[in-house]
Symmetry: C3
Subunit: 330 residues, 3 copies
């Protein structure tokens, strides 16, 4: 048997699924007859443990090989063309062009979100408040202290964690995740001002349109639009403590890290990376594939593919220390 | 009939109320006998739609007039002395010195907050937790998962959105709004330190005094005072993810945008504008009418009327790109 | 009787406890026979009131002595060797090397946390959601809308305020405090990326390990670890709106102020001070006793004892205006 499994990209994990058991065995009824080793957890390349799954983004160096030499068999997800040395030590080597991605896919397949949360998939807590007429797709899980407003709608297999809320006129696609205390569709923060008169809030009646597989972080807020919906496209992931204000539009597969302030009517393209603590001025546009650095204060448009950083943010000729590669988030 | 209605300031909206129906008709029993057109929604000057209400802050240019030419009648709120060209196209032109303000007032009159939230005004959720002896003014609406502590007090017509909380020794005036998960009266973050000993929290027993018509944003926290109450005066509006620490004092009609950190014992004057992501050092003072720029880190006092920006924040001679005018928030 | 009580450090407060009554008398059954004065509240040195407890960090100046001269007896906690002038005015002077710390200890002893919150110590709200098998130490108080996950564990005398949540695989020591809406053990924000494929979340299965007497602020989130637990050591205090990402490790007695973004895999030493609004790049290390300035964006390691500030953060030769001394937080 050849311990090197060349599957680039990492394929359907058939091989890996066949070899994994133990702590995950209650989740998966895995056959074990053709299993060379059992996996009973995850470990790190800096401290690999026998019988675990691990991954590394770089070609295995001498130090890693030495650490792997002294222990029982494990399964390592490694870059392409790096499998032989590890397999020679008796381990299973799974080659991938994107080892971190492959690791994520494999562990997620073994441990669905509901299991990670210690819940039952598709269950509704009796301590949730679901408004009359709300449309909730099949397979959706709703934890306690969740609010789902009348007039909202969501697709299949969404997951609403404890304390999150879906406001009126909010539409979520399928597979969306709202983390703890996330607020989608808060009523914006736009006021009409007039000299000597009380500030008067502008009602935000256009709601929020969210695509599929969007994640909204814990204590993150997404404001409802005024005249057109605030939009978050499919595959975009937003971390904790982010505010996306009214009338924003965010493209597909963008990643917004923690503590980012996105002011009103900002447009962000697809596959962008907005680093922790950045603040974006209202009405600016961030082009496709652009990266905004840690703590940057962005006051004007950013071109597609550009990297900006600083206060106020300026363009870096080439990706600087702020840049995160396509291979994974920190 | 003259389609130009000159009412500066925008008056009591009598004319407008008389012409609005359709989606709002369940809210308002509007007479229709003298109605020249019906309003069935809102639209934007960049995409005006027949039968809607819209506003513009600038004098209508050729492009806007062209867009308005091709469509059925609508109602436009526009700057003073700009009505004739629009009225000539068969639309209703409502002139105002502050069109955005007039728009806000009108839409708010048509759509009260409870309707915007899809709730019944004055209702209490059975899933709220109201402490014994809390005093709650008539007409107040309390959504689910709200906590109102014993020993707190609030005026008439307040609105507490889902998950918000009013701590002990907190007093709210009338018409205050707490958005989702807002926390008013958290127990501060002051510690006594001594070499080699555990940090010891200082109890914050002086609570929070809030004026009338104050809005506290989603996931925003207001710390209780130590010896004197933390104060937020009438008409001030605070966005999401803001922290106002213990012992702060904020004047009337100030606007604090999202993600602002106001450290302990800071004084902010009236009609100030604190832009998103700003951080204010403890014990400093921001004068009346001052503006703090996007992401600014303010480490010393700011004079009345000054505009500061940057890290650390410096004064701009004249309002720079950070400045937001009196005509409205972004 | 000598009105100067020299007890440095401030000892067990026996003297002080003997003299305090009034608003606190329902909490403590204090003997009153040898009480020279009664304390019925707290006041500030800038406005001292008769019959109150106050503290000052500096040697009493003429102005303070003048203010103290005109009023009835109070109890003042003051720096060492500063008691005689105050005692000569008929007040009780309690000397301490750390007056703010002594004040905190004394007021906390008089007003336990549950009393400050207006609750009953050790009570569980029927509106909380405690998962099967969660282990909760004796004396723990659980307010309404709190979630405690199956598979979590906490020590004695913890206090979980309204809306806070303890996720799966989270272990808290004794005496920990979670403020309103705090989230401990959110599922991190790490994704595997691959060109042209949907981002895939990496499950975060290693939980959070928290020491004793740790405070987690309102709307603060602590991400669960991927392969090893996220760690927060004994005595560390974290304010509101902070995000501590997955795989971080924070030493003992560190203070993290409001609105701080701690990216993934950051190490922070013991007795550090991280000022409001700071953002820390992933994987960096902050040495023991280091201070990070207001709004600083820290992109590389900080040496033990260093003070850094700015964007990007640079070292200050000596503690600058950012520095907070060991004597107390703002």
């Amino acid at each position: 048997m050849d311990h090197v499994t060349s599957s680039v990209p990492f394929g359907d994990f058939r091989v890996a699924l066949n070899i994994v058991r133990s702590e995950f065995s209650s989740v998966l009824g895995l056959p074990s007859e053709d299993v060379p080793i059992e996996i009973h957890g995850l470990s790190s390349p800096s401290e690999p443990r026998a019988g675990t799954l691990l991954f590394t983004m770089s070609s295995p160096d001498e130090a890693l090989l030495r650490r792997l030499e002294g222990i029982g068999a494990c399964v390592a997800i490694i870059p392409e063309d790096c499998g032989k040395a590890i397999a020679a030590l008796g381990h299973i080597a799974l080659e991938s062009a994107w080892p971190k991605y492959a690791f994520a896919k494999l562990v997620r397949a073994l441990v669905p979100l509901a299991v990670e949360r210690g819940r039952v998939s598709g269950s509704y807590s009796p301590l949730a408040a679901v408004g009359e007429g709300a449309i909730i797709g099949a397979g959706t899980t709703i934890e306690e202290f969740v609010s789902v407003a009348s007039g909202s709608r969501m697709g299949e297999d969404c997951y609403l964690m404890r304390g999150s809320s879906v406001g009126p006129r909010v539409h979520l696609g399928r597979g969306c995740v709202l983390k703890e205390n996330a607020v989608v569709g808060d009523l914006g923060f736009g006021f009409g001002l007039a000299a000597g008169r009380p500030h008067t809030r502008i009602p935000q009646l256009a709601g929020v349109e969210v695509g599929d597989d969007v994640e909204i972080g814990a204590c993150t807020t997404i404001g409802a639009g005024t005249l057109v919906p605030t939009r978050i496209e499919t595959g975009t992931k937003i971390s904790n403590h982010v505010h996306v204000a009214h009338n924003c539009s965010i493209g597909t597969n963008t990643i917004i890290a923690c503590g980012v302030n996105v002011s009103g009517s900002v447009t962000i393209g697809k596959r962008c990376w907005i680093a922790p603590g950045a603040t974006l001025r209202n009405k600016i546009s961030i082009g496709d594939g652009a990266a905004v650095g840690l703590g940057a204060v962005v006051v004007k448009d950013v071109s597609p593919g550009a990297t900006v950083a600083g206060v106020p943010a300026r363009v870096f000729d080439k990706p600087g220390p702020w840049y995160e590669s396509e291979t994974g988030t920190p």
